[in-house]
Symmetry: C2
Subunit: 269 residues, 2 copies
Amino acid sequence: KPRVIAVVNQKGGVGKTTTAINLGTALAATGRRVLLIDLDPQGNASTGLGVDKAARQPGSYGVLIGRAGFGEAMVPTPVPNLFLVPANRDLSGAEIELVDAERRAHRLREAIETFTSFSVSEHDGAAPARGFDYVLIDCPPSLTLLTLNALVAADSLLVPLQCEFLALDGLSELLHTVDVVKANFNPRLKIQGIVLTMFDNRNRLSSQVAADVRAHFGAQVYETMIPRNVRVSEAPSFGVPVLLYDISCAGSQAYAHLASELLKRENAE
Amino acid sequence: KPRVIAVVNQKGGVGKTTTAINLGTALAATGRRVLLIDLDPQGNASTGLGVDKAARQPGSYGVLIGRAGFGEAMVPTPVPNLFLVPANRDLSGAEIELVDAERRAHRLREAIETFTSFSVSEHDGAAPARGFDYVLIDCPPSLTLLTLNALVAADSLLVPLQCEFLALDGLSELLHTVDVVKANFNPRLKIQGIVLTMFDNRNRLSSQVAADVRAHFGAQVYETMIPRNVRVSEAPSFGVPVLLYDISCAGSQAYAHLASELLKRENAE
Ligand SMILES: Nc1ncnc2c1ncn2[C@@H]1O[C@H](COP(=O)(O)OP(=O)(O)OP(=O)(O)O)[C@@H](O)[C@H]1O
Ligand SMILES: Nc1ncnc2c1ncn2[C@@H]1O[C@H](COP(=O)(O)OP(=O)(O)OP(=O)(O)O)[C@@H](O)[C@H]1O
Ligand SMILES: [Mg+2]
Ligand SMILES: [Mg+2]
């Protein structure tokens, strides 16, 4: 059974997609088989991995509404061992479409459970025969039904936190939502960790926010910080993760460290 | 009747709140009376204007579900002539609560129309007796019922666009949504303009994105660009707009220019 990690923060632009793509790539580079689910109707993870807008059917929308399984929906990416379930526009309709549906918060979880128990036979060989080690879910910047599906499906959540004052504002709300989900839907859900992103050591505010978060959340905060690094924001325009675009840049190095820190934490459990 | 402008972009972290607060402040500084409506459950505009979390009842949620009028919901801010309808957590429930309600997309518009026709008598003198010149609406990073309410209520929309590749990805979707709203709900809706934010002239990607956007959207793009400027991101931690925090910094100057460019465009109509 794969470890399912939801990459979540309702604050916009904090590095969720960038973290999902590059952490996924770094984990895949260690030989682990990774499935990335793009659950954001913007489809930025799909763009960042070079999947054309016309090639995003049935996508995560098809899986959520039960029209397709993962085997059919997943596509290969430029990274060996990393597969993607892309997102398209239809996903923004899922919210309203599923309002009256049975177990509407559990759709993703049930789809993952069905897939991982039958995965050897279901797909055409493009995907790894022996199943996945990690499933990462890139969430939209909101706490609605899509993110709820991710939290119900997840074993744990990874929270990218931009080193900015406004980013702190919503953290307590996110943690409250996690408690509600844990109590009502998914008792196994826990916080994998908080990762500080776009850290700029020339900027006093950045260091202050980082210090505040560490003081408040202690060991839940990864030691690895992701620096602000322009190469990271250039990579999506080439449809590849920064680890493929420029392995030696500070951003790539940080995501490689983050992956090894995550694996250390997982093994320690 | 006030001009109603929605500040919208479903891409997260592009500067919607920062633009709504600081454009509102700059317009208020010219003596115009401005009402800022915080329509994001995160409540970042309320935080950025120093309104305590405990003082956000009934807020924009109360107005949307019809429990309060603007007169009761609005609060003064540190800026003369700028008033705020704050946002609180309840707002994230509005989506589901209004699913079966009558005219659920028109709630905000009807509330603004009711308020502006009776505004002299309704409030206790804290707000301007002669009504408002501008209403700005800060939207959440999504295209759901809250943003739909803003687009139905608005005369025009202002689109902050971060000078990043991924920010371009969702622009066509936003413009498609605007066409749908115009056709089905609000025929008067038009694009006030696109404003380039967090522009960094040392960064090739930033200049490239800016050039692309201008080539594609021409005169719809404001000449004024908002530079990336750390003073802008420090101001919210003091609960004041950057124009009050540090009037001489590049960010403040840019927002002052943006206000005068907006007024010029309005007068030219
Ligand atoms: N470490 C970094 N250094 C520089 N730029 C970065 C970094 N991480 C992310 N970015 C850029 O910042 C922007 C926001 O990042 P990203 O889109 O990953 O955030 P997000 O949280 O997924 O946004 P949304 O809330 O819209 O889903 C993107 O343009 C991205 O390329
Ligand atoms: N010109 C600027 N220079 C530097 N930092 C900026 C600038 N504009 C905004 N910021 C910072 O960038 C972050 C994102 O901006 P902001 O919160 O206004 O975006 P938003 O689009 O409202 O985000 P959301 O999608 O979460 O509502 C904030 O921390 C803000 O302080
Ligand atoms: Mg994203
Ligand atoms: Mg905002």
